[in-house]
């Protein structure tokens, strides 16, 4: 497969495979680096194990956006955190949602906020 083909496959297929898990679990650093090394391996060597090929650029540069001189591949760690942040935002805004009601039932609500120790954002505390 060509370089461009691998890039497309990597960006649109392989990076979306873990999205479901990224969206709800904080992924350990070790797992992230092993997934990224799989990506890296596929991208530069085509996933073929017999022939060693050269990774010409650092993975961090590949992950930069195109405007910054990379190829715009998604960075898993930051993407993970951004997806999780969405849940925190939902706690603040979507008070009628199932997510907030679930947490309220589990951790109790005090003064319109979830109880301290329960969840993220209890007024800077």
């Amino acid at each position: 497969m060509s370089f461009g083909g691998r890039l497309i496959l990597l960006k649109y297929v392989m990076s979306s495979v873990p999205i479901y898990f990224l969206s709800f679990f904080k992924v350990p650093t070790g797992i992230i680096s092993s997934i990224e090394s799989l990506f890296n391996f596929f991208f530069w060597e085509g996933g073929c194990e017999d022939i060693r090929k050269i990774a010409w650029v650092d993975w961090n540069i590949v992950c930069l956006s195109k405007e910054e001189g990379g190829l715009g591949v998604q960075r898993l760690r930051e993407f993970n955190v951004a997806l999780l942040g969405k849940w925190c935002w939902c706690i603040l805004v979507d008070r009628e949602g199932l997510w907030y009601r679930f947490l309220k039932a589990r951790y109790k609500e005090v003064g319109g906020r979830l109880k301290e120790g329960g969840i993220v954002f209890c007024g800077g505390g």
Partner: protein, 257 residues
């Protein structure tokens, strides 16, 4: 599960989440006076830690304070002991922060996402915020490698050219794949093959000459590849709409070379 999210947001990237959330006070009845980030860019307990320690009622709401009036230091609330002189100054400073603030009775207190106050939180925007780097000096030039009219393989080729990571022979030598006696350029001239060489040597240089003559322009070839693209793409004195056209030609030429 939940602690996973909490640690992801709290400890993962510092306190980026809390830094980007603001309380927009309307009625002020469900906003904590000391704990929420609602005025002046930081919660008052962070800004005036001393006063926070001394306050009797730490969970007081904005509305209750407002009823008693900002002027009393915003803290008509009771203190645990008499304030010292310098602590009184803090109170004055605090109330000067509040003096222009007016509660709106018919508006509810809301949250605001600072990165996108209009639409609120978005994963895409946050991702961009988190991956923002300061090393974007070459911005604007490197993204010229991705015009829409050009096929992907050419774009990637140009990207590798600009990044200077084409497998030219000097690179292969550096990685000990080739021997010293094999490094001369296929063009037949006696110098090492490098990316820059693609623009300078006799044979390929003459291709560029041909292009310049075809376009009726005089052009002095700059030394580095990036400047070459930049100058060629922004030829002075020509209208803007020709720029993308020129870039297209540039890409085509490089690909052929």
């Amino acid at each position: 599960m939940i602690s996973g999210i909490r640690s992801g947001v709290r400890f993962g990237e510092g306190s980026w989440f809390e830094e980007n959330v603001r309380r927009v006070v309307g009625r002020g009845s469900i906003t904590y006076f000391l704990l929420d980030n609602w005025v002046g860019g930081a919660p008052l307990c962070v800004r005036f830690p001393r006063l926070y320690d001394l306050a009797e009622n730490k969970g007081v709401m904005v509305r209750e304070i407002a009823r008693k009036g900002w002027a009393d230091g915003g803290d008509a609330s009771e203190w645990r002991r008499r304030l010292l002189a310098w602590e009184d100054e803090l109170v004055t400073e605090c109330s000067s922060l509040l003096c222009n603030f007016v509660l709106q009775d018919h508006v509810l207190d809301m949250w605001r996402w600072v990165l996108d106050p209009v639409n609120g939180y978005s994963v895409k925007g946050t991702y961009q915020y988190l991956t923002l780097s300061d090393t974007s000096l070459e911005r604007g030039l490197l993204d010229t490698a991705w015009p829409k009219q050009v096929p992907l393989k050419v774009s990637i080729f140009v990207w590798r050219l600009l990044r200077n990571i084409l497998p030219t022979k000097d690179k292969l030598l550096g990685r000990r794949i080739l021997h010293h006696d094999d490094i001369f350029y296929i063009g037949g001239c006696w110098c090492t093959e490098t990316t820059r060489h693609l623009f300078r040597c006799d044979i390929f240089g003459s291709i560029w000459h041909g292009v310049y003559q075809w376009l009726y322009i005089s052009f002095i070839s700059p030394d580095s590849v990036r400047e070459h693209l930049f100058q060629f793409g922004h030829l002075a004195g020509l209208p803007r709409f020709t720029h993308s056209f020129f870039k297209g030609i540039w890409h085509a030429c490089v690909w052929i070379v």
